[in-house]
């Protein structure tokens, strides 16, 4: 089969699909009410998709079972909030009520987001030095521990002039403040989230397909063999850890933008567990799987299963449906997936146009003909 021809076709298909998606988003944002739940789900979904993919880079592609993602999101969210908050707000009492803010400048949205990623990456580099020498489950518990330490650190009173202690951060530049460069026209917020996440995920995919990515996969499959092939284990693990944290930081910054307020208490280990469950549902080692799963997860959590929480929906006089029932159903479903469908939605495969085309060929021409068609194309 002509591989180059197929590659070209796949590239065109991907480009067309992406343009169609962004155009659709733009049209939806311009025509529909911005308070619609659909936009909430899309925005949160794409933010979680980024952090899930970044976790997948570690857990699925490098084989490092790390549970520190919430901690790095916390760093990203706080860095963004602190840097992007207008100076006037910092000087007034409205946010820093009990402290005098020590950061006397403000930055634009994009520099703040980038710095959010960079600072998360620097923390990751420091944490990685000791932690990455540990093996599987010890690594998990140590990274979980570091995330908890970070949370305590950000809530510390002495850090108050920077992080506002345990109080809420708000009035920084959120999604409504995003404008098209050099103009005052508002940038559609959902489109902005998709654009940023899309670029980040594309970079991760490029990384996975590069020689570094192959080294990561070699480490995942067999550390000793990888080392024997001349891969510097520690260097590559550290690299994977730092890059993953960089993107977790950016997604933390986006989460802060999306939420309007941010508080350290939110970034508990339960959050890391949720991200991990997304990765598992999507399939460990599949980028597209993580993206699909995060949209499904958020949509179920915020939208589709909401009716389970309404006590008005009870039938037969049973008092089963009330606040919280949605989460119970949801966690049962997750347990079923973990136990019986441990490969998740995509396994370790990626979305490919070839499979889609094959599927349609089969659908329209029957199985036998499809094979003939494909061989005829050669």
């Amino acid at each position: 089969m002509d591989l180059r021809k197929n590659k070209k076709r796949d590239g065109i298909c991907t480009a067309v699909a992406l343009i169609a998606m962004f155009a659709l988003l733009l049209i939806m944002e311009l025509t529909m009410k911005s308070t619609s739940i659909l936009f909430t789900v899309l925005k949160k979904g794409v933010i979680y998709a980024l952090v899930a993919v970044s976790m997948n880079l570690l857990n699925g592609f490098t084989g490092l079972f790390s549970l520190g993602q919430a901690g790095f999101m916390l760093i990203g969210a706080y860095t963004y909030a602190i840097l992007s908050m207008p100076v006037a707000v910092k000087l007034s009492d409205s946010v820093y009520k009990y402290y005098d803010c020590a950061i006397g400048f403000e930055l634009g949205i994009i520099p703040s987001m980038l710095l959010a990623g960079v600072i998360a990456a620097i923390f990751a580099m420091l944490i990685g030095l000791p932690v990455l020498r540990l093996k599987s489950d010890y690594l998990a518990i140590a990274t979980l521990g570091f995330a908890e330490i970070l949370r305590a650190f950000f809530q510390w009173d002495a850090m108050g002039p920077v992080t506002n202690g345990a109080n809420v951060m708000r009035q920084y530049k959120d999604l409504t403040k995003v404008t098209i460069p050099f103009t005052d026209i508002r940038f559609p917020p959902t489109l902005f989230c998709f654009l940023v996440s899309g670029i980040c995920i594309a970079i991760i995919v490029l990384l996975i397909n590069s020689s570094y990515g192959r080294a990561f996969k070699a480490i995942r499959d067999d550390e000793i063999a990888a080392e024997a092939m001349g891969i510097n284990l520690f260097k590559h693990k550290e690299m994977s850890f730092v890059i993953s944290s960089f993107f977790a930081g950016i997604s933390g910054a986006m989460l802060a933008m999306f939420q309007y307020t941010v508080q350290a208490a939110q970034f508990k280990s339960a959050m890391t567990y949720e991200i991990l469950l997304i990765v598992v549902i999507g399939g460990i080692g599949s980028v597209t799987g993580s993206c699909i799963a995060s949209f499904l997860f958020i949509a179920c959590n915020e939208w589709w299963l909401r009716f389970l929480d309404e006590s008005a929906n009870n039938i037969l006089g049973m008092n089963l449906l009330r606040s919280g029932f949605r989460k119970v159903v949801f966690s049962v479903v997750i347990m079923i997936i973990v136990l019986f469908f441990s490969k998740g939605i995509m396994g370790d495969k990626e979305f490919s146009w070839q499979r889609i085309f094959d599927f349609f060929h089969k659908l329209f021409h029957g199985k036998k003909q499809a094979v003939e068609e494909v061989s005829g194309n050669e």
């Binding site: 857990n59 079972f65 000791p130 932690v131 020498r133 540990l134 599987s136 489950d137 010890y138 998990a140 518990i141 140590a142 979980l144 521990g145 570091f146 908890e148 330490i149 305590a152 650190f153 809530q155 510390w156 009173d157 508990k268 280990s269 339960a270 567990y273 949720e274 991990l276 469950l277 598992v280 460990i284 009330r322 606040s323 919280g324 029932f325 989460k327 119970v328 949801f330 966690s331 049962v332 997750i334 347990m335 973990v338 136990l339 441990s342």
Partner: protein, 294 residues
């Protein structure tokens, strides 16, 4: 003298919390010793025991409620192992750990559903909840009972593991899973027995712990659970005396830190300790003696 008088309440609280942590940590260390699994759900089993107590004591007398709580918690531990871990026995270790995280998520959400997210007031246990005064430090009687009860239970457990057939089987399985099976040991029932013992101790620990803290929330199992795992690692995972000593050290150190006014860092300290111990002495305090492993 003045210093002692001031710090005595914290040290007393530390010893008491340490004893309660010890009872939970044993569950972690035994399960890890046999299955090489961090049982993330163990902390939530501990919380669930507290919830059972809240709900049962509302309608039943304490004399009935307490044994019933112990039985239900043991059943919960047993069911978790059978449903969530046993089918994955031959799966990679990561899948089992993910399953454990899933169970933890499930238990927390169930608790959230049944309580409506409110903190539930833990019932007052007569005698245990009475306040007493030791050298000017006011505390509950449970503070004194805990270390004694913990020591009695640990000694009992050690004897059980050393001299009974089930205990011997546990040691064999933790040494070598496959060989133990070849020797005719029913590995699955040994693992179940481990979970039963662990859950029973967690239930007793929860009786003591929540008597001190007076309220249960769906997330109140998470932090103690992680700390107890740290205690188990600190003492050398797989070793029962190690887990107990580690738990006491963590309990006391944590309360001294609280006493110094660094409450925000009392949790962080535990994890800092974990990282230091993993880097300096990954086997823990008593980890080397393979014969101690359970």
């Amino acid at each position: 003298m003045q210093f002692l008088q001031n710090s005595l309440p914290y040290i007393l609280a530390g010893i008491s919390v340490g004893g309660q942590y010890a009872l939970i940590a044993i569950g972690y260390t035994m399960v890890y010793g046999i299955l090489r699994l961090i049982n993330f759900a163990h902390g939530d089993v501990f919380m669930a025991a507290g919830m059972f107590m809240v709900f049962l004591s509302a309608s039943l007398p304490l004399g009935v409620a307490i044994p019933l709580v112990l039985i239900i918690t043991v059943a919960l531990g047993f069911i978790i192992e059978r449903v969530a871990y046993k089918p994955l026995r031959s799966a990679p270790r990561m899948s089992v750990m993910i399953s454990a995280i899933g169970v933890s998520y499930l238990i927390q959400n169930c608790a959230l559903y049944f309580t409506g997210g409110l903190a539930k007031v833990y019932p007052q246990l007569p005698w245990l909840s009475d306040t007493i005064t030791i050298w000017g430090a006011v505390t509950k009687r449970v503070t004194l009972v805990t270390p004694v009860l913990t020591l009695v239970l640990v000694i009992g457990l050690s004897l059980f593991i050393k001299y009974t057939k089930v205990g011997m089987a546990m040691r064999a399985v933790s040494k070598d899973f496959e060989t133990a099976r070849l020797m005719g040991i029913k590995v699955n029932s040994v693992i179940s027995a481990t979970f039963i013992i662990g859950s029973l101790l967690a239930a007793i620990g929860s009786l003591l712990y929540f008597t001190n803290y007076a309220s249960v929330t769906p997330t109140s199992g998470g932090m103690p659970g992680l700390k107890c795992f740290v205690a188990a690692v600190f003492g050398g995972i797989g070793s029962i005396p190690g887990a107990v000593i580690g738990a006491f050290i963590i309990g006391i150190a944590e309360n001294i830190i609280k006493g110094l006014g660094w409450t925000t860092f009392s949790d962080a300290f535990t994890f800092a300790l974990l990282i230091v111990i993993l880097l300096v002495k990954p086997t823990g305090l008593f980890g080397e003696k393979a014969t101690d492993k359970v």
